[in-house]
């Protein structure tokens, strides 16, 4: 049942067994898992069924770090949350997002990667990943490259599997998730969805050991509370730390923040262009089209990317990274800065006697006259970000229209992130040359951030999971350390983010959390 919270009487106290905050992917899959179970669930959603400017305005915040999206446009504050924002064309006029589980190495504590390590291995999460794929209708569940290529007309690039491997991403249509959730939630007997209801504070007992209720406000002025036996924050990696930090009535540092970890380790997947691969044979594109764009194999939309094998990453102390090959036809002259670099600026041998001006003039003339086309591949990268405690979400002194302090995001990447990206290009470039496919011109600079660096709207790490309360905000059950009945669902609990889109891991972790919650009530 859906209720417009603006109609709830001022000061009313609603009660439930479970209160979920946020009707995005995590909140909705959790609500769907708890549907028609023998306990009452209230799901609080800030927006309505469609976006509206008034609700979305509450997402406004400050960016004080690297250039990032305006925070009110980086998220969607209505039913379905950021799933509404998926926009990859996957055929049949559908939009979707890439899905892939994290790799085994992503869960490991890597001695060369500070703050890495999940409290469990990928094996532990595998059953939940399988169920998550069923929800996404990404069947068959296999990600084994040979199985997918065997069914397709495409060829795998002939790289040494010990150096560069081909991996597969599948896709989930956003309608699959949103329609499925909406039906499950609408029809549940035990579930109330409060629309246009904004959480403005979390109230605990005097010892800050358990949550008593949450304060809710509507933009029309209505205010009420929701009490429950168990609370789950599922409002995303920026809003969840905001809610914890601004709930500072009992603990002045904010809830769960006794060790100053809430909001820290904000991670994105780093997206940037890195280089130009000039193939020897233009026919390559016909064979390798699956590396370029979404293709359907047996009706399932998939794409292939390049990545590094786990053994090589461990050996060379590298973090996870993938590359998509984006074909472009360009004027050959636009490649001269790469092809003629030695000639124009760093002459060797026979060119040395020519004055610099003459050499540059020759290049300039050739640039103007050469109208030939070349087929190239641009490298589109998506990489893991090294966990960095200084990359963080804090609160501004300014408040939104409901009186809650707005967020201040300081997104930072470290020089090691750039160094890692360059090393990956060098390895892939080496394989391209060794296999005789062509040549890779790397455009990254060791001393500067890629000019087009941007995120993927993946807000991870701000309430990271760790057994040790000094190192994490939530325990392995996703329960906030020190609070008996407050849990977090969503990407903010990721200690590291791997290179895969987060949605499948969000679903897997939330399915796992739903089992835990059911056990809590059974006991």
């Amino acid at each position: 049942m859906m209720i417009d919270a603006k109609s709830i009487s001022m000061g009313q106290e609603l009660a439930a067994d479970v209160c979920i905050v946020g009707a995005g992917t995590a909140g909705l899959v959790l609500a769907a898992q708890l549907a028609n179970k023998p306990f009452r669930v209230i799901l609080i959603e800030s927006g309505g069924l469609k976006p509206d400017k008034n609700s979305n305005q509450l997402n406004w915040g400050e960016n004080i770090g690297l250039k990032y999206y305006a925070l009110d446009t980086a998220r969607a504050r209505y039913f379905g949350g950021s799933t509404n924002r998926w926009h990859v064309s996957i055929g049949d006029q559908q939009l979707g997002a890439r899905i892939r589980p994290l790799d085994g190495i992503d869960f490991e504590e890597r001695d060369y990667l500070p703050h890495s390590g999940w409290p469990f291995s990928k094996d532990h999460l595998e059953p939940y990943y399988l169920r998550a794929q069923e929800i996404c209708r990404a069947i068959p569940p296999s990600y084994a490259v040979n199985e997918w290529f065997g069914e397709s007309p495409y060829e795998k690039l002939p790289f040494d599997a010990g150096q560069v491997e081909t991996i597969v991403f599948k896709f989930c249509a956003k309608e699959t998730l949103l329609k499925g959730f909406e039906e499950a939630v609408q029809n549940a007997r035990n579930l109330q969805v409060l629309l246009f209801a904004n959480l403005t504070g979390i109230e605990t007992d005097e010892a800050a050991k358990s949550v008593k209720n949450v304060k809710v406000a509507c933009l029309n002025g209505a205010r009420f509370t929701v009490s429950a036996r168990l609370f789950v924050l599922a409002a995303g990696g920026i809003e969840v730390p905001r809610l914890l930090l601004s709930s500072d009535q009992v603990m002045s540092c904010g809830l769960g923040n006794q060790n100053d970890v809430v909001g820290r380790y904000f991670m994105e997947h780093l997206h940037f262009w890195s280089g130009v691969f000039l193939p020897k044979d233009n026919g390559l594109i016909a064979k390798t089209g699956i590396y370029n764009d979404v293709r359907r194999i047996n009706g399932v939309p998939v794409i292939a990317k390049l990545a590094l094998p786990e053994a090589l990453m461990r050996q060379q102390k590298l973090i996870n990274h993938n590359v998509q090959l984006m074909p472009r036809v360009v004027l050959r002259s636009t490649l001269y800065s790469h092809l003629w670099r030695d000639f124009s600026s760093n002459p060797k041998g026979v060119f040395k006697p020519l004055p610099t001006a003459v050499r540059k003039g020759i290049v300039k003339a050739a640039t103007l006259l050469d109208r030939r086309r070349s087929l190239i591949y641009k490298f589109a990268n998506m990489t893991e970000q090294i966990p960095n405690p200084e990359s963080r979400v804090t609160l501004s002194a300014d408040r939104d229209s409901l009186g809650v302090r707005i967020v201040r995001l300081n997104w930072q990447v470290s020089p090691q992130d750039i160094e890692n990206a360059i090393r990956v290009q060098e390895i892939i470039g080496g394989e391209i040359e060794r296999s005789g496919l062509g040549r890779l011109f790397i455009q990254l600079q060791r001393d500067s951030i890629p000019p087009d660096l941007h995120g993927g709207y993946h807000h991870m790490g701000t309430t990271r999971m760790n057994c040790d309360p000094k190192k994490g905000v939530v325990d392995p059950d996703c329960r906030v350390h020190g609070l008996s009945n407050l849990y977090i669902a969503g990407p903010s609990v990721f200690p590291t983010g791997g290179h895969a889109n987060p949605v499948l891991t969000i679903l897997a972790l939330t399915l796992r959390l739903s089992e835990h919650i059911r056990k809590v009530f059974e006991n």
């Binding site: 469609k50 976006p51 509206d52 400017k53 008034n54 979305n56 305005q57 406004w60 305006a70 009110d72 446009t73 969607a76 509404n84 924002r85 926009h87 990859v88 064309s89 006029q93 939009l95 233009n282 026919g283 594109i285 016909a286 089209g289 370029n292 764009d293 293709r295 984006m326 074909p327 472009r328 036809v329 360009v330 004027l331 636009t334 030939r372 086309r373 070349s374 087929l375 229209s401």
Partner: protein
């Protein structure tokens, strides 16, 4: 013959850029071109304190200066009001880019994948179909609109006959329809609200209207 037009309701646009992303995904314009984009002017807000965003693309003007300055006849205004470019005729002189008061025309030095999924120049890297060095811009998803209309669908009402940006706009801020049909949604929105055209003083008479307030 209909006269296609777009109404952009700025009261509903949340700046999500879905229109921009979907246009890039579906139309695959040449590299570096944005046939539709969203201008975010920052903290600038309307009188009621809400942020304002400006989705922008070709205005499909009634009197398009880009067509008037085109020396090769590549830019053409179709009877249904859509202004489009014939890539085969365009000589890439750039006069239209200079003449357009809205800054929505592009000349690219590279081309990517076509909507068919095939890369231009797959065989030789020198396909005559590539769009390097020629002018390109929003065409109101003309192939979709015209083929849908020919099948009896109603562009702006039926998703399969509507521009991609309109079809996928999350806030339903982008609307599309026939300006000559008094009963169409775009005509009603223009009639019932304060609808403005950009740079009205230039006299181009755009077919894109913005609703700022009721």
């Amino acid at each position: 013959m209909p006269r296609w037009a777009m109404v952009i309701d700025l009261r509903k646009c949340i700046g999500c850029e879905t229109c921009q992303h979907v246009c890039l995904e579906m139309n695959r314009p040449p590299g570096g071109s944005f046939w539709r984009r969203v201008i975010d002017p920052g903290r600038l807000a309307t009188a009621d304190g809400l942020r304002i965003f400006l989705p922008i693309g070709c205005m499909h003007c009634e009197k398009p200066p880009c067509r008037d300055v085109c020396p090769s006849g590549a830019t053409r205004k179709h009877p249904n009001g859509i202004v489009d470019v014939d890539f085969e005729k365009c000589i890439g002189c750039g006069a239209c880019v200079v003449a357009c008061p809205y800054g929505v025309r592009y000349i690219s030095d590279q081309d990517g994948m076509h909507p068919t999924g095939e890369a231009p120049g797959a065989d030789s890297g020198a396909s005559p179909q590539d769009r390097i060095g020629v002018s390109s811009k929003c065409h109101f998803c003309r192939p979709v609109v015209e083929s849908g209309f020919a099948k009896g669908l109603k562009p702006g009402v039926d998703a399969d006959a509507s521009p991609y940006c309109v079809r996928h706009c999350l806030g339903e801020a982008l609307r599309f329809g026939d300006l000559d049909d008094a009963g169409s949604e775009v005509s009603r929105l223009i009639r019932d609200n304060r609808a403005v055209q950009l740079h009205e003083a230039v006299g181009t008479q755009p077919a894109v209207f913005y609703i700022v307030e009721s």
